[in-house]
C-alpha cells in the first residue's frame, strides 16, 4: 500500500424525504444562491422541496448550468454572486451542476482570470461554502473536491480541485432519481463503474481493502444497474438507493487512497465530449474496453483479479480470461443501453487526428498509472474504438 492522506468532511444525508434537513445545515443569516440546470427540478418536485425547506432564508437563483458546464455560463453566476454578496451556494442537480457550482465557489473569491484555475491550475486560498441536493447519481462530485469545466470557445474540458471545494453537506434522496430519463440512469451506472476501474485496474500494491471495496462497488453496479432500467414506471427504492450510494462511494476518494490511479480513459473521453458532444459516460464507455486491450500487458495482474473476482471467470488460459473480462465489460455497458463504438456516435477514422491534437494541446501526453499513454498509445486506443 502506498502512503496516503484521507479526509472527507462532507456530511452525507441519505434517504427518502431528507431534503427538508437542508434548512438546519445553513445558518439563517446566510444569503443563498441556488444553482441548477435546465429546470427538471421544477417538474419532479425537488425545487419545491428545496424552497419549502429554505423558507426564512434569503434565496437567489441561477439556472441554466448545462451538461459539461461551461466557463462562459458559470462566469455569469460569478458576477451575480459578487454583485449580490452571496454567502452560500446550494447546488441542486447532478454532477454538472455540482462541478459548475464548485467553479463558482472558487472563482467568486479569485482575483484575476478565473480560467487560470483550470488552465494554469492556479492555487487559491478561499472559496464560498457550498452544499448539494443531488438529483443524478453518477459523478461523485457530491462528496469530493473535484470539478471538470469546459471552455466553449476553445472546446477545452479540464479538471481542477481543492479540499476547499468539498460540499459541506449533500442530500442523497434516492426517490429523486425516479423521474430520470433512461439515458441518464444508464450514464450514471457507467460513469460510476469507470470511476472505480480508474482507481482499481492498475497494478497491484497489496492494498487488500481498497481492492475489495472497489470490487464490491463494481459487483453492486453490475447487479443493481440493470434492475434500475427494468420497469421504470414503478422504480425500486432499494435498487435506486444502492446505485446512488455506489456512485458516491466510487469517487469520494476512499477507494483510491494508497493505490496507483489511472484516469487515462477519462482524459481521452473528455476530448470526445468536447469535440463531438458525446455524453461523458458514453465517451468513457467507448475508451475503457480498448484501454484494457492496449494496456493488457501492464495491467495483467489486475485484469486477472478483475476477471476472477468481478466476473467470476476462472477457467481458460490467462489470455483468454483477460479477453473474456474485457468482453464482459463491453457487454455490461451495452446491456445498460450504452453503445461502446465511436461509430455509434458518428465519429470516424478521419476525426482521430484532431482528438490526438487536442490531447497534445492539453498536455495529456503521458497518461495513466505509469505515464505511458502517449498520444501514439491514445491513437491506437481510438483506432480500436472505431
Amino acid at each position: 500500500m502506498l502512503n496516503f492522506e484521507f479526509k472527507n468532511p462532507t456530511k452525507i444525508i441519505f434517504g427518502k424525504g431528507e431534503i427538508s434537513k437542508i434548512a438546519a445545515e445553513i445558518p439563517k443569516d446566510q444569503k443563498i444562491l441556488i444553482t441548477y440546470g435546465g429546470g427538471s427540478i421544477k417538474k419532479n418536485g425537488v425545487y419545491e422541496q428545496v424552497m419549502q425547506a429554505l423558507q426564512g432564508h434569503e434565496v437567489l437563483e441561477f439556472s441554466g448550468i448545462e451538461p459539461n458546464p461551461t466557463f462562459e455560463t458559470l462566469s455569469k453566476a460569478v458576477t451575480l454572486v459578487q454583485k449580490e454578496n452571496v454567502d452560500f451556494l446550494l447546488a441542486v442537480g447532478g454532477g454538472s451542476v455540482l462541478d459548475g457550482t464548485k467553479f463558482i465557489a472558487a472563482a467568486a473569491c479569485f482575483e484575476g482570470d478565473s480560467w487560470d484555475l483550470l488552465a494554469k491550475q492556479a492555487p487559491f486560498e478561499k472559496a464560498l461554502p457550498l452544499g448539494a441536493v443531488l438529483t443524478l447519481p453518477a459523478t461523485g462530485s457530491e462528496s469530493n473536491g473535484g470539478s471538470v469545466i469546459t471552455k466553449k470557445a476553445t472546446q477545452t474540458k479540464l479538471p481542477f480541485g481543492s479540499p476547499l471545494l468539498f460540499p459541506q453537506f449533500s442530500v442523497l434522496d434516492p426517490t429523486v432519481t425516479y423521474s430520470l430519463p433512461e439515458q441518464q440512469i444508464s450514464n450514471g451506472i457507467v460513469d460510476a463503474f469507470v470511476h472505480v476501474v480508474e482507481q482499481y485496474l492498475t497494478y497491484p500494491v497489496n492494498a487488500s481493502i481498497q481492492d475489495r471495496f472497489a470490487e464490491g462497488l463494481l459487483l453492486t453496479l453490475i447487479e443493481e444497474g440493470p434492475k434500475a432500467l427494468e420497469n421504470q414506471e414503478e422504480p425500486n427504492y432499494e435498487v435506486r438507493a444502492n446505485l446512488m450510494w455506489a456512485a458516491t462511494m466510487a469517487l469520494n476518494g476512499l477507494i483510491g487512497k494508497g493505490v496507483p490511479q489511472d484516469w487515462a480513459t477519462h482524459m481521452i473521453g473528455h476530448e470526445l465530449t468536447a469535440l463531438h458532444g458525446i455524453d461523458h459516460a458514453r465517451s468513457i464507455a467507448i475508451i475503457l474496453p480498448n484501454m484494457m486491450q492496449v494496456r493488457r500487458t501492464q495491467k495483467r495482474a489486475k485484469l486477472l483479479q478483475y476477471a476472477e473476482r468481478v466476473w467470476n471467470i476462472t477457467t481458460g488460459d490467462e489470455e483468454a480470461i483477460i479477453d473474456q473480462a474485457i468482453q464482459k465489460t463491453r457487454e455490461f455497458f451495452e446491456s445498460v443501453g450504452v453503445p461502446t463504438r465511436l461509430g455509434d456516435y458518428g465519429v470516424k477514422e478521419q476525426d482521430i487526428p484532431a482528438i490526438i491534437e487536442q490531447l497534445t494541446n492539453h498536455r495529456m501526453v503521458k497518461l495513466g498509472e505509469q505515464r505511458e499513454v502517449t498520444p501514439e498509445v491514445s491513437r491506437q486506443i481510438l483506432e480500436l474504438s472505431l
Copy 2:
C-alpha cells in the same frame, strides 16, 4: 437501506514515516498534553518520534492510561488539563489511550460529575480537540467519536460518544506495530473482526455496498491476520498496513450506516472484562460464536450470506451451512491464538449469575438489532460458552 447521516471529519495520515507530520496539524500556540499508557512507546521509538516532531510546541505528558481505561485514572488527567490550561490532547497509543483521551477531552469541559457522561449519557456541548498517533490497530477509536470507560470502584464498563470526539487527525504508521506482542496483534484482529460482524450479521435491508464492504474487511482479516503472526521477527509491511487500515475501516462508521446494528456481543463481553479481567477482544471472541448459535433463526439470511461470501461454504443443507460458518468463525479466532471458551479463562458456571446481574444493573436487558437479547438469552449464550 435505512436512512442515515454520515460524517467523518478525521484526517487519516497513513504510512511509513508519517509521524513527523503531526507538527503541521497542531497550531504552534497550543499547549499540548500527550497521553499514553504503560510506556511501550518509549521502547519502540514512537515517543521519540512524537517529541521530535513537536519541538517548538509546549508539551506536557500524562502516562499510565491502562487497558480498559478507568474513570479513576483519567480523572487525574482531567485535573491536570484544567490546572495547566491544556489546549490540545494528543493520544499516543491504542484504543484504550484513545478512548481515555476522549473522556479527558469531554470531562475537562464538563460541569458536574463527569461519570454522568457515561452513566447518565449526559449531553455536552464542548470538548477539547484531540489528535492521535495510533500504535495498536484494533478498536477503530482513531477514526470515530466513541469511547468506552470503566469505573473500577463498581466494575462498570460503559460506552459514550459524540461527534465532538472524533480525532482531528490520526497518524497510522504500520511499522509502529512491528514491536507489538503477539497477544495484542491477535486481539486486534479479533476485535476488528467482531466490529464488522456487529454491523453486518443482523437482517438484510438490501444494503449491497455495506454488505460487500463488510465482507471485504472480513476477508482481509481472514487472509492477512494469520500472516501477521508468522515470522514476527521480520514483519511484513503490507500485511501490517492492511490490518491497520482494516481495523480503522471496521469502526469508522461507514459500514454501519443505513443498516441495523447488533452490539449485543460487545455488551456481554464488557461485563466479562469488568468482572473477570478478560481482554476485550477475547471476551467478544467467547461470546460471538454462541450469539450466532442462539440467534441463528433471527440471523438466518445473513448467516447464509456470510457462510457463502466470507467462508465460501456453498454445499450442504442450510442448517449445516450455518453450523459450518459458526465453526469456521470459532476456528479463525483460535487460529490467531484467541481461545473461545469461558473455561479457557477460568470462568465457571457459578460465575454466570453475577454477569447476568451486572447486565441488568447496566440496563443491558434488550440487546441486539431486534432488542430481543434479554438477560435470559444472555444466560443461554454464556452457558453455551462454558
